[in-house]
Structures are given as C-alpha cells and as structure tokens.
C-alpha cells in the first residue's frame, strides 16, 4: 500500500480555443486529496470548477500541468486509457442522475462491469449487492422512470461504486433534489466516506458543502480558499 494521495494535481491548466480567442478556464491549480478525504469544491459558475471536475474525471485532458490519480500521471494518456481509468478508478455521480432509461436498475448498476469484461453472473451479483447497499434491492428489475429522483440518485451512486473505484466524483449530486432527499443522499455519502471512499463533491450550496471535511473555493480559474472543517482526514 503506497501513501500516495488519491489525487495530486500540480500546475493544472486548461484553455479552450474559442471564436473570441483563447479562453483560459483554469490557471495552474495545485491540489492534493488524501485517501479517505471528503472534499467539496465550491465557486460561482464560470469559476472553473466544472472544468476541474472534468479533468479529475478523466473526461478531458489538461493543457498544462500534471495530474496524478492514485500515483499515476494521467495527463498525457490517450482516450482508451482514460476510458479504462473512468471504468476502474473513478465513480461518477451526476446532477441529472444519468441512468439509461430503457435498462432495469440492476442492468444500469451492472453496466460499468460490462466494460470491465466481467461475465453475467458476476455482474448481476455485484450489482445486486450494491443496489441492496443503497437500499433499493427490491427494485432491481424496475425501470428508472418508476422510482423517485432521490432513489434514482441512489442507483447512480450504486453504479458509481460497482467497480470498486478509488474515488467518487459527484457533480452537484443534490442539484435536482428537494432538501429532505438531499439530506438522505448526503447521509449516504457520509456513510460511504466513513467506509473509506474518497469523495470529491461539486456544489454551490454551503449547507451541502458543510457535509464535507474540506471546502475548496474556486474563482476565475484559481483556488481562492482551502479550509478544513469539523474532523481531520482519516488516515
């Protein structure tokens, strides 16, 4: 077991070529996230936090700087390797849940395992396990449209965790949920973090961010504050 942080970025920058000229969304960001940490990224829209999340999520490649995910520099990897990282090291939770509407909940949760090359019995077993973990085991054969938004987000979390990732990335996971359901989701995140999963959460709601152990604020493509709250990072 190495002591390398789950995430370490140094001088991470991203600029886009637009019709109006080059636009720099991220100016040399440095950040390290230790294993088991739970961090909230906050900032107004246009502050670069989404760009940062896309880079952390290996959905995009940086213009400059280095990104070490679980000790590996992924900044220069090609699309195929990035897909592999997304499949094995990362779990995504989106604001809009992003379940596939024609698939049963079980198949939705099992989908990452298809791309990991597991056989069907193994896929079903793992997916059923995770669905039960988020308290939706009895809806395994339902379609996403048959359950509530909060439940859909739980399924999405189960899907994000099914391939045993190092890191859970959540982009405004409660943005489409009412406050009570949001609380449930945040409670689930708290439990998962307590089990040792590293979580990076993007939100603009301070009370949601308060669930995290560390709050990082972005403004104009730079980190403007980085605070720890409540308890220390578990070792």
């Amino acid at each position: 077991m190495t002591a390398a942080p789950v995430i370490r970025v140094t001088g991470l920058a991203k600029s886009y070529r637009t019709a109006a000229g080059d636009f720099t969304a991220l100016h040399g960001v440095d950040l390290a996230v230790e294993r088991g940490d739970y961090i909230a990224i906050m900032g107004p829209s246009g502050s670069g936090k989404s760009t940062f999340m896309n880079l952390l999520g290996c959905l995009d490649t940086p213009s400059a700087g280095a990104y070490y995910l679980a000790g590996q520099n992924v900044a220069q990897l090609d699309r195929e390797h990035l897909a592999g990282l997304r499949n094995r090291l990362l779990g995504f939770v989106f604001q809009g849940f992003n379940l596939l509407p024609r698939m049963s909940l079980l198949d939705n949760v099992a989908l990452p395992l298809v791309y990991a090359g597991l056989d069907k019995p193994a896929r079903r077993e793992r997916a059923a396990e995770l669905l039960a973990r988020v308290g939706l085991g009895r809806y395994a054969d339902s379609l996403p449209s048959r359950i509530s938004g909060g439940q859909q987000q739980r399924v999405a979390i189960a899907r994000a965790l099914v391939n045993r990732p190092q890191l859970l990335l959540a982009d405004e996971p409660t943005g489409n949920l009412d406050s009570q359901t949001s609380e449930e989701i945040m409670r689930l995140f708290g439990e998962l973090n307590a089990e040792g999963i590293t979580i990076v959460l993007v939100t603009h709601e301070p009370d949601i961010a308060a669930h995290a152990h560390r709050q990082v604020r972005f403004r104009d493509g730079r980190i403007v504050s980085d605070e720890r709250s409540r308890q220390e990072v578990r070792a």
Binding site: M1, E80, G84, N87, L89, F94, V114, G117
Partner: protein, 424 residues
C-alpha cells in the same frame, strides 16, 4: 477495500466473448425500443435481398434453359452448305447448287481436329402409316450424325455404315413423329411410307425438345443418306449432298478446323485464288454461344438492378443509424463516463447495424425463394435456386451492414465524452 495499489489500476480489458454477448442483448433491447423503425429499416434489406434472390433465380434459370438447348444440339459443330449458282442473273440461295458430295465429306474426315463428319440431305416429306399421315423433316445422313449431335436411341437400334452402302429402307423417328403417327403403338418394326416408299422403323430417338429457334427437334425422321438420295429426294447427281455437318474436337480448335476445311474444299473444287467459294460455312456453336452470352448478360443485368435495391437498403440502415446515434448522444456520453472505450461504442452500434441487415437478409432470402417458386408456379419460367446465390446474397447483406453501419458507429465512438454528456 478501496486502497491505492497496482492491482486496482487500469488493466487491459478481457476481450471476452462475454462482452459481445452483453452487447448483443443491448442491441436487441435498443432495436426493441423502436420496433417500427427497426422493422422499416429491415424492410429495405428484405426487399433488396429478396430482389437479388428472385433475379438471380430467374437469370440462372434462363442460363440453364439455354445451356440445356445447347447441349441437345451437340457441341463444337459447324456445317458446310453447298453453294449458290447464278443463272441469267438469278442467284439461287445456299445449297442451291450441288457442289458438295460424299467424297468431300470423306476427305474432310481425314483432316486433323475433325471428330465426326456427316453428309446430310434433308427436306420436308409426308409420312403415312395406316390411316395416319404426318409431315415431318426427313434427314438422310450417316451414323456419325447421331454421334455429332449426341443423339441417343431410346427404343430399337440405329443403322450402320452397311445400311448406308446398300441404301436399305430403314428409319429412325423422333418422339413427335412416333406420337403422331403411331399413337400408343410400338413403332419399332412397323413399316411406314415416305414418298410412297416403305420404310421399316428400326428405332426411336431420344427427346431433344426445341432448338434455339423454337423448332421441335423431335419432329424428325432419320434415314440412311443413300436411301434418302435415291428414294426420298430423288437427287439428280448421286453422291451430291446439300450439307456436311462437321464436329471439331474442341471449341478452341474450331476456327482452325474451319479454315482447314475451306482450304481443302477449295483445293478439291479446283478454285483459283480470287474465285469465290462455292460453299458456305456456318458455325452452329457460335450462334448458341452468343445466345448463352446474351442470357449471361441479362442475368448479370438483373442482378445488378437488384443490387441497387440492396444498396438502397444499406443506405436506409446508415440513415437510421445516424439518427439513432444523434438521439442517443447523451447515452453514449454516460457510457463513456462509466468506462466505455471507443471500440465498445463502435462495436455496440456496428452490432445493431449488422443484426438488422442479417435479420433483414434472412427474411429477404425466404421471401425471395418463395417469390421465385411462385413465379415458377404461375408462369412456368425456369428458375434455378443455387446455394451459392443464397450465400452470396447473405454475405453481401452482412457486408452492407458492416459497410453502412461503420460510419455511424465510428461517429458515435469518436464523440467527445463531455460534449456527449452535455447533449440535451
């Protein structure tokens, strides 16, 4: 459980048939989600393949029919006709003058590359048996004639060279003659009359059906050449013949043999350079081959036209797959976010296209076969259904699926994950 170690780092994927199986079931789901559209897309392939199968069946049927006709005629044949003569500016047609004789035929038989030579003399005559009478073509010739034309005798026996030498009054009759003159009676051993002369029927010829002109080849009586000359046609010059049928040993050697015969006959007839031939030559096989070539061309043409509908079906698949990729952009983004590689997305969409085209192809094959059988049933047209043509149609359809599915699938696979995820 969620430790940072090498073990859980990205490893090469297992290239399991399991993944293909999973994707097949996904493709099935996707197709089921839009049944009408899938069915209509498939219909394009069904019609295309069905058309190819029917057209190939008809085309090959026509080729088969022509080949049958050619094989009844005999192969590598040409005829030498006695020439025309001119009297006071009036030219007779070919075989108007008796310029050929049996000795010419014997000389031709000595040439290299000649297999069979049959001097013949033919004309239409009235046949009488008991109360029945029937007009038919009477051919006076030698036994080689039957060999050259690959004509079998199904009842009784043929005549030999001794019959020709002694001009016996024996006859071989075709099936049509046997039916019309003798009805249910066994003609062998019966005596019929040609031009008042009694002939003993010694054999019945095997059926050959129509020739390329549509003339019934079974409406024929074959008698020894000498008997025909003396008793049937009353030729003024004994030994003169109107026609000599020659069979060459191969199709390739045909022209050489014909040239040899021309040189020989010019020499025998003492024709000087510059003097025209006093005989004509016709290549029977060439006519047949051009007919075969015509049907082959027709067959290819039919197939080509049908292939266009197959192409249109393929374009239909491409069109629908492109629509499908656009509609499912967000789904593709989600799949990429959870770890689908380019080739996974490519495989998924390609499989869909291939399934649609192969399913369409199978249905098209069945409908095509059914259609071909119906055409045969109602119009009596000869159709030939070969396993090869079915296989070719199948392979082409699968190829069409891959070809037209490739571009949309690649388009899907090349999507930018972020763009795709944002797509509404």
């Amino acid at each position: 459980m969620f430790t940072v170690d090498r073990e859980s780092g990205p490893k090469p994927y297992r290239e399991a048939p399991e993944m293909i199986r999973a994707m097949l079931s996904e493709a099935w789901q996707a197709m089921g989600a839009n049944r009408l559209r899938t069915a209509l897309t498939m219909l394009g392939m069904v019609i295309g393949v069905g058309a190819v199968v029917i057209m190939m069946a008809i085309g090959q049927g026509a080729q088969y029919a022509v080949q049958q006709t050619i094989s009844t005629m005999g192969s590598n044949l040409f005829i030498v006709l006695s020439g025309s003569f001119t009297t006071s500016g009036v030219r007779s047609g070919s075989a108007g003058a008796p310029t050929l004789n049996v000795a010419d035929a014997d000389a031709i038989a000595e040439l290299e590359g000649v297999v069979n030579v049959a001097p013949t003399h033919q004309g239409s005559r009235q046949l009488v048996y008991g109360a029945q009478n029937w007009s038919s073509q009477v051919i006076g010739t030698t036994p080689e004639y039957l060999e050259a034309r690959a004509w079998s005798i199904v009842q009784g026996a043929g005549f030999g060279d001794s019959d020709v030498r002694s001009a016996t009054r024996v006859a071989l009759i075709g099936k049509t003659v046997a039916d019309n003159l003798f009805g249910d009676e066994d003609p062998v051993g019966k005596t019929m009359r040609i031009q008042q002369n009694p002939f003993v029927v010694i054999g019945v010829l095997g059926s050959k059906g129509q020739n390329l002109d549509g003339r019934d080849q079974d409406d024929t009586v074959i008698v020894p050449l000498t008997t025909a000359q003396r008793k049937v046609f009353g030729t003024p010059f004994l030994g003169a013949v109107r026609m000599i049928m020659v069979q060459a040993d191969s199709g390739e050697g045909m022209q050489k043999t014909m040239d040899g015969v021309t040189a020989l006959l010019r020499q025998r007839h003492r024709l000087r350079d510059g003097q025209p031939d006093d005989f004509f030559m016709r290549n029977l096989s060439a006519a047949a081959e051009s007919e075969a070539e015509t049907t082959r061309t027709m067959s290819i043409l039919l197939g080509a036209i049908a292939s266009i509908s197959l192409l249109v079906g393929g374009i239909g698949i491409m069109n629908i797959m492109l629509v499908s990729v656009t509609e499912r952009t967000r789904e593709i983004g989600i799949r990429m976010a959870i770890g689908a590689r380019e080739r996974d997305i490519l495989t998924q969409f390609l499989l869909e296209a291939i399934i649609i085209s192969i399913a369409g192809c199978l249905i098209g094959l069945l409908l095509g076969l059914g259609g071909a059988l119906l055409i045969n049933f109602f119009s009596g047209m000869v159709i030939v259904i070969s396993g090869t043509s079915a296989l070719v149609a199948f392979a082409v359809a699968a190829g069409v699926g891959v070809f037209f599915g490739w571009y949309p699938a690649r388009k899907a696979a090349r999507l930018d994950p972020i763009e795709a995820l944002r797509y509404q």
